[in-house]
């Protein structure tokens, strides 16, 4: 098989995930896009491992081992990420990442009611931490 097929598919999937991470607003949809990017990397690893296991004499099958490690780390990441998203949702009532500006610096805190909101959110951040 031509090596360009899995490589191109992997690049396209990665860029799809990149678009999802940048354009989505719900935190869980962002996590889904991160999964897409990780899967694109996995496809690349498997394809190059299959290519090198026939092309090279001695191989460690490092691509497939790294793919398994990536899958396990992705499972850990999705568990931690969902726990964080649920904690944020419990505290803020939203999982909209555009509205999670507690740690934002700059002009947001200089608004007319910016100080009161910042004080509230600081107390809430302390309660979360």
């Amino acid at each position: 098989m031509h090596l360009a097929y899995p490589a191109v598919l992997s690049a396209l999937l990665f860029c799809t995930g990149l678009y999802g991470v940048l354009a989505r607003r719900n935190a869980i949809l962002v996590l889904m896009s991160v999964e897409l990017m990780l899967n694109a990397v996995n496809l690349n690893l498997v394809a190059f491992d299959v290519w090198l296991s026939k092309a090279a004499q001695e191989t460690l099958h490092s691509g497939q081992a790294l793919t398994l490690f990536t899958i396990a780390i992705a499972a850990a990441e999705i568990g931690i990420g969902l726990a964080i998203v649920l904690a944020v949702y419990r505290n803020h009532g939203t999982s909209d990442i555009d509205r999670l500006r507690d740690s934002a610096e700059g002009h947001e805190s200089d608004g007319p009611d910016g100080n009161a909101l910042t004080a509230e959110e600081t107390g809430k951040a302390e309660a979360t931490a």
Binding site: M1, T16, L22, A23, I28, D49, A76, G93
Partner: protein, 243 residues
């Protein structure tokens, strides 16, 4: 004199032809694979890859959040089929077990626990989607161009014994990769404990301030929580979220 010149020209031409043939030799060897006469595996890979890419596009563009998770199942299942076509069967079944089996279920649980709207949600995409589209298309163009240019004449050999059968993968994993494997199990344990701590600690600290009111209302921790937070009292949906 002219004869010598003519002979030299012929010799040059022959040499040039020989060099050309030498340059073309790898291409000719590679040409036995045939770029325009793809094998059955390539056709299957292409079809499944198109389906996978289409499902991924729907996943990141649909406005119905649950549908995004279900299209993600199609994407991950298509990738499992691609692994099978690449003769990496163990990876394929691990992909089916972990991604399709557990990660998507976790994502669906997360969508339900954060009260994702069932129908179309108009604000699924943020305002910078055109900038995101520009970045993604530019990255895709650059990556595809570089990758195609780099691996234009590279073929994988899928014949013979499978490169990723369970025996091969297991032997390599437990001969050469034992230490990372064990470190990974420690990482999974840490992630498990971390997820438990993240979801327990917030609840414990949220219910700790209103001790008196909890004693007054009879020990249900969630009701004083929603009363204790000034913002969460704004809408009934958020009160339900705190529950």
């Amino acid at each position: 004199m002219t004869v010598i010149a003519a002979t030299a020209t012929v010799a040059q031409a022959t040499a040039a032809h020989a060099t050309a043939a030498h340059v073309n030799a790898p291409t000719a060897v590679a040409g036995t694979h045939g770029f325009l006469s793809p094998t059955g595996v390539e056709i299957a890979f292409l079809i499944v890859g198109l389906a996978t890419f289409g499902a991924a596009l729907v996943t990141v563009t649909t406005r119905q959040l649950v549908h995004a998770a279900l299209w993600l199942v199609v994407t991950l299942g298509g990738l499992a089929v691609e692994y099978l076509l690449l003769t990496a069967e163990f990876i394929a079944w691990v992909q089916v077990l972990i991604y399709v089996g557990s990660v998507v279920v976790l994502l669906l649980f997360g969508l339900m626990l954060t009260k994702a709207p069932i129908g179309r949600s108009p604000d699924a995409d943020s305002g910078n989607r055109w900038a995101a589209l520009t970045v993604a298309v530019a990255a895709a163009a650059a990556l595809v161009w570089v990758v195609v240019d780099a691996f234009r004449t590279t073929w994988m050999d899928l014949d013979g014994p499978a490169a990723g059968s369970t025996a091969v993968t297991g032997a390599s994993l437990f001969q050469n990769w034992v230490l990372p494997f064990e470190a990974l199990s420690v990482l999974l344990l840490a992630a498990l404990v971390g997820a438990i701590v993240l979801s327990r600690k917030a609840k414990a600290e949220m219910s700790s301030p209103p001790v008196n009111s909890r004693a007054a209302t009879g020990g249900s921790p969630s009701v004083p929580d929603s009363r204790n937070h000034p913002i969460e009292g704004n809408s009934p949906a958020e009160q339900e979220g705190a529950r």
